[in-house]
Subunit: 305 residues, 2 copies
C-alpha cells in the first residue's frame, strides 16, 4: 500500500495539536488536546501515542499508509539522536529519547525538532518565505522564538540550538532574562513584558488584543507602546540583517497581530540602522500560516530537499 | 601543461599583497606593494595587473600553468557578477566590474570576494577553524570584519554581504557608527576607539602594542581597558552564539594580539551570558594564519567544496 499520509504534531505549553495530512500536505483531519491537564511526562507521552492512534483510526488509515509522524517541540532538541534536552515550560523532561519511545510504540518513523525550526520550515516551504533563499523567521509570544533558513535549507547549528533571536542582547546593561543572559530581546518584547508595561501606562489590566485595537484606532499611548516594541525588534533584527544578509524576515505569533504600527516601526528601524546592501535586500512580512504552521512544519520534516 | 599554480591577492587600504601558491597551496613567492602611493582606481587596477604579470615572470611560470587569480577586497562585492560595489576606505570605486576587467587583461580566470570572507575561508580550510562545521571568524582592526562558515561552507548571504559582526548593535543607544547605525560593536572596539580611550586613561598617545604589553605585565589600567573591549566583544558574540550555535569562534587581526586578558574576558562573557546548549558547544580560538590569511583564502576561492 502506498505511503501517502503524514502526521504533524505541534506540542506547546498549553495545547497538543495533531493533524493528518494527505500527500499534497492538505489537512484531512485535526484534533486539539489540552496539555496542562495531562500532568507528568509519561502521561504526556501516552497522550501523544493515543492521539496518533486515534486520528488514524478515526480516518480509517492503516500504519502502512503513513510516511511518518513529525513533531515540533517547545525546547532544545538533539535532532540527530531524537532526544529532548528539556522543556523550559514543561517540567519533568530531561534528555528523553522521545523519538525512539514513539517509534517503538507506534511502529512508525518519527522525527522531532524544535517548534521554532518547524515553524520556519512551514513558512519557508508553504508560507510567507516561499521562494526566499535566506530567511529569518521570528515568533512573538510569551517567548521570542526564531528559525533560520540558510541557502535554501533549515539551519540548525552545531548543537541544533540555532535561531534564538529572542536571546540576542539589544542592550548589554538591560534587564535579566530567563535564559541567564541580560538585555536579551525577549526581556523587552515577550508578551508578559508588553502587558506589564501596558498595565503601568493604562493603570489597569489590558489585553494584547485591546492594545492592538487601541493603536489601530489612534490611541497615542498604545501607539507609543507598540512603537517601543517595534524599535527593540528593529534593533535586534538590524543585527541579524547585518550578520546574515537575509532576503526575507517573517514575523509571526500573537504579537504580530498588532498590525501596521508594529511592522512600520520594525521596517523603518532596519531601513535606518542596517547597512545599505543588507537593508535594500530584505523584506519584512507577516507569517501566513498562523496556528497551523507548527503542524504543517512538523509534517514537512518528512519532505526531502 | 598541467594547471598547478594559483595566485592569491589581498588588497587592503594600505597594502596590496600577492602570493604565488603551488598545488598544495604552499607559498612559492610573494610580493608587497603600498596601495596608498598608487592614487586612483585605474592606477590601482594597473598595479594589480602588473604585479600578477611580474610574479609569473619572476618565477618563469606561463599563463597555461595557472588555475586562476583569487582576490580578497576591502568592501562589499557582488560575487556572482564579479563587481566591486564600493570600498569604504579607498575612494573612486563604484560598481566596478573588476573580475571582467582583470580576466580580459590577464587572460586568466579571476575570482573576487570580500576580505573577511576570504579570511574566514582560509582559517576554516587551513587554520584555526579546521574541522569545524559552523564557525564565526572575526577580524579586529580599524574595522571589525566577520565571515561565516555555515554547514561546512562559506556563507555569503542574499546580497553577498553577510558576516558584518562589527555592525551588530550591542547597545541601542550607543554612539553613531560609520555604517549609519548606532551602538554597533565596531563603534566600541575598532582600533581608533580603543586608542582614543587609552589616550584618555594614560593622558598620552599609546600604541596597541604597548597597551598589550602593559596588560601582560599587570598594569591595572591596561587590564581594565582590555576587559572592557572583551566584554563588548563577548556581548556581541553572545548574540551570534545564541543565533547561530557555532562550534568555533576564530578571532584575528591586530587587536587579537592583546592576549590572555582579552580572550579570557570574551570566553567568560559568552560562558555567563549565552544559552547553555550554545555556550557548551563553542570554543573561542585565536586565528592561526595572521597576515597570510587574506592571500591563502583568496587562492582557496579556486578550491572545490
Amino acid at each position: 500500500m502506498a505511503k501517502t499520509f503524514t502526521i504533524g504534531i505541534d506540542l506547546g505549553g498549553t495545547n497538543l495539536k495533531i493533524a493528518l495530512f494527505n500527500k499534497n500536505l492538505r489537512c484531512i483531519n485535526r484534533h486539539i488536546l489540552s496539555t496542562t491537564a495531562l500532568g507528568n511526562k509519561d502521561a504526556l507521552i501516552a497522550a501523544i501515542i493515543g492521539s496518533v492512534r486515534a486520528i488514524l483510526a478515526r480516518n480509517r488509515i492503516s500504519r502502512e499508509q503513513v510516511v511518518g509522524v513529525g513533531m515540533g517541540l517547545p525546547g532544545p532538541i538533539d535532532v540527530e539522536k531524537g532526544v529532548v534536552h528539556f522543556f523550559p515550560n514543561i517540567p519533568g523532561w530531561k534528555d528523553v529519547a522521545l523519538e525512539r519511545i514513539l517509534e517503538k510504540a507506534l511502529q512508525l518513523p518519527v522525527r522531532i525538532d524544535n517548534d521554532a525550526n518547524v515553524m520556519a520550515l512551514a513558512e519557508f516551504k508553504r508560507g510567507a518565505a516561499r521562494g526566499s533563499r535566506n530567511a529569518v523567521c521570528i515568533t512573538l509570544g510569551t517567548g521570542v522564538g526564531g528559525g533560520l533558513i540558510i541557502d535554501g535549507a533549515l539551519y540548525r547549528g552545531s548543537g541544533f540550538a540555532a535561531g534564538e533571536i529572542g536571546h540576542m542582547p539589544v542592550n548589554e546593561e538591560g534587564p535579566d532574562c530567563n535564559c541567564g543572559g541580560s538585555g536579551c530581546l525577549e526581556a523587552y518584547v515577550g508578551n508578559k513584558r508588553i502587558l506589564s508595561r501596558a498595565r503601568r501606562v493604562f493603570k489597569r489590566q489590558i489585553s494584547l488584543e485591546e492594545l492592538s485595537r487601541r493603536a489601530q484606532r489612534g490611541d497615542r499611548k498604545a501607539i507609543a507602546l507598540w512603537s517601543e516594541v517595534g524599535l527593540k525588534l528593529g534593533v535586534a533584527l538590524t543585527g541579524v540583517v547585518n550578520l546574515l544578509n537575509p532576503d526575507c524576515i517573517v514575523i509571526g505569533g500573537g504579537v504580530a497581530n498588532a498590525g501596521k504600527i508594529l511592522f512600520d516601526t520594525i521596517k523603518e528601524t532596519i531601513y535606518i540602522r542596517a547597512m545599505i546592501v543588507q537593508a535594500k535586500q530584505v523584506k519584512v512580512v507577516k507569517a501566513k500560516l498562523g496556528n497551523e504552521a507548527g503542524m504543517i512544519g512538523a509534517a514537512l520534516l518528512f519532505e526531502r530537499g
